[in-house]
Symmetry: C2
Subunit: 364 residues, 2 copies
C-alpha cells in the first residue's frame, strides 16, 4: 500500500490528509515535527478502540518525547452528548493542556466529532488531530471540520466548524472493523460517486469485492479519492453556505431514520444509504431523474451487502422528524436530489404532498 498525501487548502486553516499502511506507529514523530516545543497531549478514544490501538499510539507519542494523558468515552452514538463532552472538558482542565498543545482523536466519527468540538471550545481552541479508525470516519467525518454532539432535539445540533491540524489515516486498522461498519463506510464512499463523480461510481461497481475483502491498494485508492472529493467540496464552501450541502445527500431522510429509531437500530452509513434510496426515488417521482436511477443505486448497495429496506413510519412522522434537521433554512425542509449518477443538487421547494406520496410508495 503506497503512501498518499492530500493537502486541504483553507488558507491559515490548511492541513494534510496522510494515508499510509501502519502509519499509526509514526504519529509521535509527525506530531513532534508539527509541534516542536510542546510537551503534553491528550489522547481521546473509546472503550472498544483503545484496547486495540491506544497503546501503539501512546508508545509512538512517548518515544517522540510526548507526555500523554488519556480520556476514554463509552462506545456508541448514544454517548455523543453534552454530558460526555463535558466530562472530556473536565479532563482537559485537569491535564492543564495549554492553548498550543494538541488533542488527538483515535476512533470513529463519534470520538472525532466530540473531540473536535472539545478542541474548538477548550481555551477557545487548541490544535486537534484526527486518527480515524472506521472507514466512515476515514472517508467522511475526519475531513472538513464539522464537529458536534447530539441533543435530545436533534442530531449534531450543538457543535462548531473547526478544522483539524492533521488527518492521519492507517487503512490497516480496518482489519479489526466489524463488517457491518465496513459496509456502512462503503455507503459513504458511494455517496461521492452519486454526488459528483460517475467514474468513481463505476469504479466502485467493479471493486466492491476488493474493498469488502480489505484489499490494501483498493482501500487506499478509494479512501484517497473520497477524501479528495470531501476536501474539494469543503474548500469551496467551508461553512455550508451552498454546495457543501450536497454532501448531505441521503442525510435528510437518513437523520430522520436515526432519530425515529433513537439512534439504536442503524449505523449512520446504513441510515444514509436508506435515505439515498428515498432521495433517488423522490428525484424520479418529481421528474428530475430518469426512471432507473434508484434501481442502479440499489444494485450497488446490494453488492455491498447493505440493507435496502426502508423502515415503516407514517408520512407525518417522517415530516416531523425532518423538520428538526439543522440543515433547514427557515421553516423549509431542504432535500438533496439527483438528476443522474454524479449530478446532485439542492431542492428547497419540495412540498409535503410529494413526501406523502413518496412514503406511501414505500409502504406495505
Amino acid at each position: 500500500m503506497k503512501k498518499q498525501l492530500y493537502q486541504v487548502n483553507l488558507v491559515e486553516r490548511s492541513y494534510d490528509i496522510h494515508i499510509e499502511a501502519a502509519c499509526l506507529d509514526a504519529i509521535g514523530a509527525k506530531l513532534r515535527q508539527l509541534f516542536q516545543t510542546q510537551t503534553r497531549c491528550l489522547l481521546v478514544s473509546n472503550e472498544t478502540i483503545a484496547p486495540l490501538y491506544a497503546k501503539r499510539v501512546q508508545e509512538s507519542l512517548e518515544q517522540a518525547g510526548w507526555h500523554v494523558d488519556q480520556h476514554l468515552f463509552p462506545d456508541g452514538e448514544k454517548y455523543k452528548t453534552l454530558e460526555h463532552w463535558s466530562a472530556l472538558m473536565d479532563t482537559l482542565m485537569q491535564s492543564k493542556i495549554s492553548r498550543s498543545e494538541p488533542i488527538i482523536a483515535l476512533g470513529g466519527g463519534v470520538v472525532g466529532d466530540m473531540t473536535g468540538f472539545a478542541a474548538s471550545c477548550y481555551r477557545r481552541g487548541i490544535p486537534f488531530i484526527q486518527v480515524p479508525t472506521t472507514l466512515l470516519a476515514q472517508v467522511d467525518s475526519s475531513v472538513g471540520g464539522k464537529t458536534a454532539v447530539n441533543h435530545p432535539h436533534g442530531k449534531n445540533m450543538v457543535g462548531a466548524f473547526y478544522q483539524p491540524k492533521l488527518v492521519w489515516i492507517d487503512p490497516l486498522v480496518l482489519q479489526t472493523l466489524e463488517v457491518k461498519e465496513l459496509r456502512a463506510g462503503i455507503a459513504e464512499l458511494i455517496k461521492y460517486g452519486l454526488i459528483r463523480d460517475v467514474a468513481f461510481f463505476e469504479w466502485l461497481y467493479v471493486h466492491i469485492e476488493g474493498m469488502l475483502s480489505l484489499d490494501a491498494d483498493t482501500l487506499a485508492y478509494a479512501i484517497y479519492h473520497s477524501c479528495r472529493h470531501k476536501a474539494e467540496v469543503v474548500m469551496a464552501d467551508e461553512t455550508e453556505q451552498g454546495m457543501r450541502a450536497l454532501l448531505n445527500l441521503g442525510h435528510t431522510f437518513g437523520h430522520a431514520i436515526e432519530s425515529m429509531t433513537h439512534y439504536e437500530s442503524y449505523l449512520h452509513g446504513e441510515a444514509v444509504a436508506l435515505g439515498t434510496i428515498m432521495a433517488a426515488r423522490l428525484s424520479e417521482q418529481l421528474g428530475f431523474a430518469v426512471i432507473g436511477l434508484e434501481k442502479k443505486i440499489l444494485s450497488l448497495y446490494v453488492q455491498a451487502g447493505l440493507n435496502t429496506v426502508i423502515p415503516q413510519f407514517s408520512a407525518e412522522q417522517w415530516i416531523d422528524a425532518m423538520g428538526h434537521d439543522k440543515k433547514n433554512v427557515g421553516s423549509r425542509i431542504r432535500y438533496i436530489l439527483m438528476r443522474d449518477i454524479g449530478d446532485a443538487f439542492i431542492a428547497e421547494d419540495v412540498d409535503n404532498a410529494s413526501i406523502v406520496a413518496l412514503v406511501d410508495s414505500f409502504s406495505g
Copy 2:
C-alpha cells in the same frame, strides 16, 4: 449625541459598530434590513436588565415584523457556567430558530459572552447581535468575538472566537447603570490609553468628570475611540496569536484576583484595574518602565473613584491562581507589561522570584 459608526473589517466576518443615543428603539428596523427574509429571533437578557429595556427592544423588533422569543439568565458572573449556557441551548432548540435567524444579547459582558458562545454552537453557528448595556461591555467585550463561559478550573475556559453580525450601542442605557459598574467600565477605557494611545490617556485625565456625570458627547467620544482601539487590535490578530494579548493588560493578575475571591468581591473591571497597578509596579521593578508609571496610573484610577487596594494573598496563591490562566503558552505565565503610558508589551520570561518580590512589596 451624534451617531458614530465604525466598521470592523474581518473579510467575510466584518460587521458594524453603531453608537447612537436612543438607538435601542431602532434595532427592529436594522435587523429587518440585515435579515430580509427571516421571521424569528431570540432575545437573551438577564433578570436585572430585562425589566429596564427588554420591552423596548421587543417592541421595536415586533414592529419590524419579528416573532420574538425571550430567554433570561439570573444576573451575575457566577451564573456564567456551562449549566446556564446549556439552558439557553435548550431554549434555542425549543424555539426552532433556524441557521439563518439571529440571537440578540441585551446586557453586560456575561449575557454577551454566554449568548455569543451559544450562537457559535447552536447548529454550528447562527447570526449573533450584541446590544451591550454596561460601559464595560460597550467598550470591550461586545467587540472582537471572544465568547465563553467559566469553568471551576478557570475563567472563560470554555468558549469560541465568534464574531457578532452587529454591535448596537445606545449610550443612554448607561443612565441606569450602577456607578460602581460605570467606574469599572472606565477602568477598561483607561486600558486602551495605557496599551497604545497616550493622547487618549491624557484626554481621559481631563474628561473623567464628564464621564462620571454621564455627559452624552463625552461618553460617545470615549466609547467610539475605545471600540476603534479594540477593533484595530482584533483586526490585526483575531485569534490572539500575538498582539491581541496586549488587551490582557492587567488581566493575568486581575483574573487571579477574581478567581481567588470566587468572583464575588470585585467586578471584572475593578479586578483589571488592580491587576494593572500590579503590572505597572512589576514593569518598574524589572526596569522596563521609568519610576512613576504606577503613580500616574493610580492617580487616574483614584479620580475615577476606583478601589486601588491590592488584596492580600501569599505569593504561592498568586502564582497558583495565575497558572490556570488560559493565556499561558506551555507552562509559562505570560505577563503584559508597560514601557510607558501607551506602550505595552508581552513578557514571557518573568520568573517566579520577581512575582514573590512584587507580592511582597504590596504586603502589610
